[in-house]
Symmetry: C2
Subunit: 372 residues, 2 copies
Amino acid sequence: MNSRRKFLQKVTFSAAAIPFLSSFKPLTLQQIDDTPYDGPILRVAIMGLGGYGNIVANAMQSSKKAKLVGLISGTPSKQKEWQAKFDIPEKNCYNYENFDTIKDNPDIDAVYVITPNSLHHDHAIRAAKAGKHVICEKPMALNAKEGQEMIDECKKANVKLLVGYRLHFEPNTLEIIEKRDAGEFGKVLFFQGLSGFRIGDPKQWRLNKELAGGGAMMDIGIYSINGARYMVGEEPIWVTAQETKTDPVKFKEGVDETITFQLGFPSGVIASCLSTYAMNHLDRFLLNGSNGFAELHPATGYGPIKGKTNKGELSHPHVTHQTVQMDEMAGIILEGKEPVVPVDGEEGLKDLKIIDAIYKAVKSGKKESLKL
Amino acid sequence: MNSRRKFLQKVTFSAAAIPFLSSFKPLTLQQIDDTPYDGPILRVAIMGLGGYGNIVANAMQSSKKAKLVGLISGTPSKQKEWQAKFDIPEKNCYNYENFDTIKDNPDIDAVYVITPNSLHHDHAIRAAKAGKHVICEKPMALNAKEGQEMIDECKKANVKLLVGYRLHFEPNTLEIIEKRDAGEFGKVLFFQGLSGFRIGDPKQWRLNKELAGGGAMMDIGIYSINGARYMVGEEPIWVTAQETKTDPVKFKEGVDETITFQLGFPSGVIASCLSTYAMNHLDRFLLNGSNGFAELHPATGYGPIKGKTNKGELSHPHVTHQTVQMDEMAGIILEGKEPVVPVDGEEGLKDLKIIDAIYKAVKSGKKESLKL
């Protein structure tokens, strides 16, 4: 195997490439280099063969440590297509009726739940009960109560529960976190997160309260919530929120279109955020301190993330986020690696507690306190 | 007079220069061209010879339609210095004791009040009662009650009352307003204003509640308030606000360090803003609509304003804001010109009503309604 060429095709990190980038050495990406890998492989089944499942499946083809080996779907024709495309044996394919028998399949280690939000809770718990590690897309569940149940069930089943926070492995993001911890921005004082896009097809599940559990906040606003936490490096203690809806036909009762929210942190940092399904041209993070600032723009999209500080632009080559995520998650599950920013169930639960409080604050019009 | 050279030195707008800039023709800047001016001149006395008074005085040297002719100061030595520098006759110089006799001076048309905030109300009313037009720095006063009294007294005295909103004449700002009105950004949905700087000397009047009437909000937060209104093009109907103070020694009781606030507009637009005396690297406006966006960054500083939309960067040469402001204000006072964005007392009063409501919302923790 020409591992060097493979490296270049993947445009991932390598020890050789780092000198050309910046002085930052991404702590969590050490393993993504061009040396052949002969360690343990995480064998993953994807549950839910939709658009994002497809992105993850494709990205996993370039992963060294995680391999797509199984499929769970309610649509036989789609499953056939994926089987052919990803070379998945029939014995590793399940539907939602026979899925629980996956417990008898020794060739699958983990299930990646990429179904609509309202199904995460049940699907994750079924996977755990079948003895499989669980990776669950964000939002981890519809609310904190569900999230806590998932954590409890995974513990009981002695399996790991991870949430698909791909940006916790993103090099621009990690460099900013490292600089923040080194005091380069001085005392952190303010975070701004603008997350949103103009959503299309009004019939998609993301606009169905039953399936999505809410609107933009569940899907895209959560990036600003999670981002506020990892960028500030503290846990918020209160939240205020304001909702506006300019298109009540498209965004029905319980499906939020646009919410601005603010998070207060113990040190006095305030985060000011926007979550919306009504606008493009967002995806901006700004962290401001007494001595400097950091910007990410785009901050969370799948394409290249662009980072900048008061000292200039950061320069990391684009890596397919989901490839890095799957490599890193394999390391966490199989080797007990500790990521810089957690991706476990407790991490997902904190975001759900904040979402619960945001929806509460929208209704109460008051500052709601948070206990994470 | 080589008016052409004078024009180039001033780097202001001219019919000849416009083709090199953009297709936008600034409506309010027509008179700032290179043709000799022989119309009426607004003869101005500056009250308050501090740092900003000095900026205005210097800028007025390049104004065609406004001329610095008088001084009002409590510091004789400073007044002497200014008299020499700006060639001001003794008969046009006043102190705060004899100032009211300015009513008998036919050589002064207007008084530009550039004293600390808490003095604006009394100083403006005294100038009005002396029969002089009033230009007052922002914030116009400490609160809406004072602002209303100033408006009433100026009306009674039959003099004009203008507020020093220099950005209402700034070409990048005006181009964005024109594009917004032409629908280029689609339906306007969101405005973000980040206004602040890290304030130095803790003994300055801006940090003295008695003189400043508050903290960052009165001085710099007002830019985001006013900016939200002219960028969105509507008047807000509610406000929420959150305060944080990381340095209670420097920022005493009643002197706000950092406040985030949100404004709701009738159409559903939300503005999310930051006002702070604790951070640099701000001064950013973002207007986001369903089809595009506009950014100003810097948005309000004295130096070049930089504008950008989803279609690219705007390109206007820098003009000294205060020079343009004084030319335009002379046009308003002497010729009844109508600016695109008002700069009258009613405009200033609206900002004061919002400031009152922000301070109220900080205390109540609730959404406060606004009636502008």
